[in-house]
Amino acid sequence: MKKVYLIISLVILMLGALIMLLPFVWMVSTSFKEPGTEFAYPPEFIPRKFILDNYIDTWKRVPFGLFIMNSFKISILIVLGRVICASLAAYAFAKLDFPMKNIIFSLVLATMMIPFAVTMIPMYLLMKKIGWINNHLALIVPGSLFHAYSIFFLTQFFKTIPKDFEDAARIDGSNTLGILLRIVLPLSKPAITTISVLSFMWSWNDFLGPIIFLNSQDKYTVQIGVALFQGIEVTNWTRLMAASCISVIPVLVIFFLAQRYFVRSIVMTGLKG
């Protein structure tokens, strides 16, 4: 009976896994097919002839290299800025005292309930006013300075670090910033990595932000690049799949390398949050 149950579970799980993977397999397979052969019936999973032309053509027709550079630049700068600003704030919330600390912390948490739809129009007007439309700063600066989820996540983590470590360092003459840099941050590597990986993924995959603030091709990110390509190559599925393949590779690589951090983030905030 136990064995039967196990086999049924395995069959369902494998069927599910197949449904999860099939769209990606089909994307990769289509991207290597000769244009025209993707319409074959019955469907062919192994291309008749493996070609790289779709990737080369995609690269030639729109500046994909530039889009990727832009996305990397924006995502990495957001990660750096966010880790700095959020750890400073989180350390203050977790370990320091200042007036109205709890009220401010509640305010930070409350902002997570505000839909982006509410703030996006004034944000657009603000960026227009200061001349940051079509400038990557419109994405980088807000994304770096304030991020409620990261502050909350790091605060929860910093609270778990025993006070003894800090007291010892203070006796040795470290100042508060020194303690944060030399004691707390090195002890928080898993939490910092989690925030970095998630933030990279979010900004790499972001679409609504870039489409509001960026309007010329040389500033586009990968996501808008792919959407733009969709408008140019309406039914050229081999090229479109090559483009979408290019766009998902960086995030998937990071996911495979750091998948335990994704799970950790969920266990920490998902249930205690």
Partner: protein, 295 residues
């Protein structure tokens, strides 16, 4: 001592300064501005040109048929997609929460769609849904079934999008449920088994009640997220056919940035916030009836 306290206070304030500048400039400021805009007549070219009171809100609620259409579409998308993706996540988590060969591989596979961008997913699924040459209709054809036009079909367009949503969300739900399952002590199961409980009874009277906080968390966050869906719709249908798949934020974006009616769109954004807020409050209220927090 008091100088030390003061120094600590100043340090605390200094440490939160960058984040507070961000909070005030990019969240609090825009919220206030948006609220003012929603009560005023604001032209894209000339800017502020006087207050109009609740007129935008009145027009939205009583005159604008698009408002009700997109709200209905959003409720359809959320009402069907969220419960199914949560139920699927629960099923997968229960199947995986045991010693099964390749457990980690399954976890990773189910989670891949969650980390993939909505743009890429939208594009892949548009190709899968292609009425003539798409993989789905080809497979159906091999089984002797003539598949519908999916995204171009009035009846099927929204269900097609919901299927993609479920496909993308269930892996995340599964991981959260797995975390919840690991918190249930095995002693409870052993005790129930000694009492002669069947597998179904174990689920009904032990697993399910103890997972209700997880279910509640998923329900609240998924509904908030699903009410704000934008990218998937923008990439896959752009609201077509006949605005049947236009959801709230997609329409709001279009009103604000294509029709340039920004104060009208601001009123729409506030109604969205109120809806989300009330739904969350309602769920909190109802939670005491079904969510079990132990003892």
């Amino acid at each position: 001592m008091s100088s030390l306290v003061r120094r600590r206070n100043i340090e605390g304030l200094l440490f939160i300064t960058p984040s507070m500048i961000g909070l005030l400039t990019f969240i609090v400021g825009p919220i206030i501005f948006s609220l003012i805009m929603s009560f005023s007549d604001w032209k894209f070219t000339t800017g502020f040109s006087g207050f109009v009171g609740v007129e935008h809100y009145k027009n939205l609620l009583f005159e604008d048929e698009y408002f009700w259409l997109v709200l209905k579409n959003t409720i359809y998308y959320t009402g069907v997609g969220v419960p199914i993706s949560i139920a699927m996540g629960l099923l997968l988590a229960i199947l995986l929460n045991r010693k099964i060969p390749g457990e980690t591989v399954f976890r990773v596979i189910y989670y891949i769609p969650t980390v993939t961008s909505a743009v890429a997913i939208g594009l892949i699924w548009r190709w899968l849904y292609n009425p003539e040459f798409g993989l789905i209709n080809s497979i159906l054809r091999m089984m002797g079934i003539k598949g519908p036009g999916w995204l171009s079909d009035l009846k099927w367009a929204m269900p097609s999008l919901i299927i993609v949503h479920i496909w993308q969300a269930m892996g995340y739900n599964m991981i959260i449920y797995l975390a919840g399952l690991q918190n249930i002590s095995s002693e409870l199961y052993e005790a129930a088994e000694i009492d002669g409980a069947t597998k179904f009874q174990l689920f009904r009277y032990v697993t399910f009640p103890l997972l209700t906080p997880t279910t509640f968390f998923l329900l609240v966050t998924s509904i908030i997220g699903s009410f704000q869906v934008y990218t998937l719709i923008a990439v896959m249908t752009g609201g077509a056919p006949a605005y049947r798949t236009a959801v709230y934020v997609y329409h709001l974006w279009s009103v604000a940035f294509q029709q340039l009616k920004m104060s009208y769109a601001s009123a729409m954004a506030w109604i969205l916030f109120i809806i989300i807020f009330l739904l969350t409050l309602l769920q909190l209220k109802l939670s005491s009836r079904w969510v079990f927090y132990g003892e």
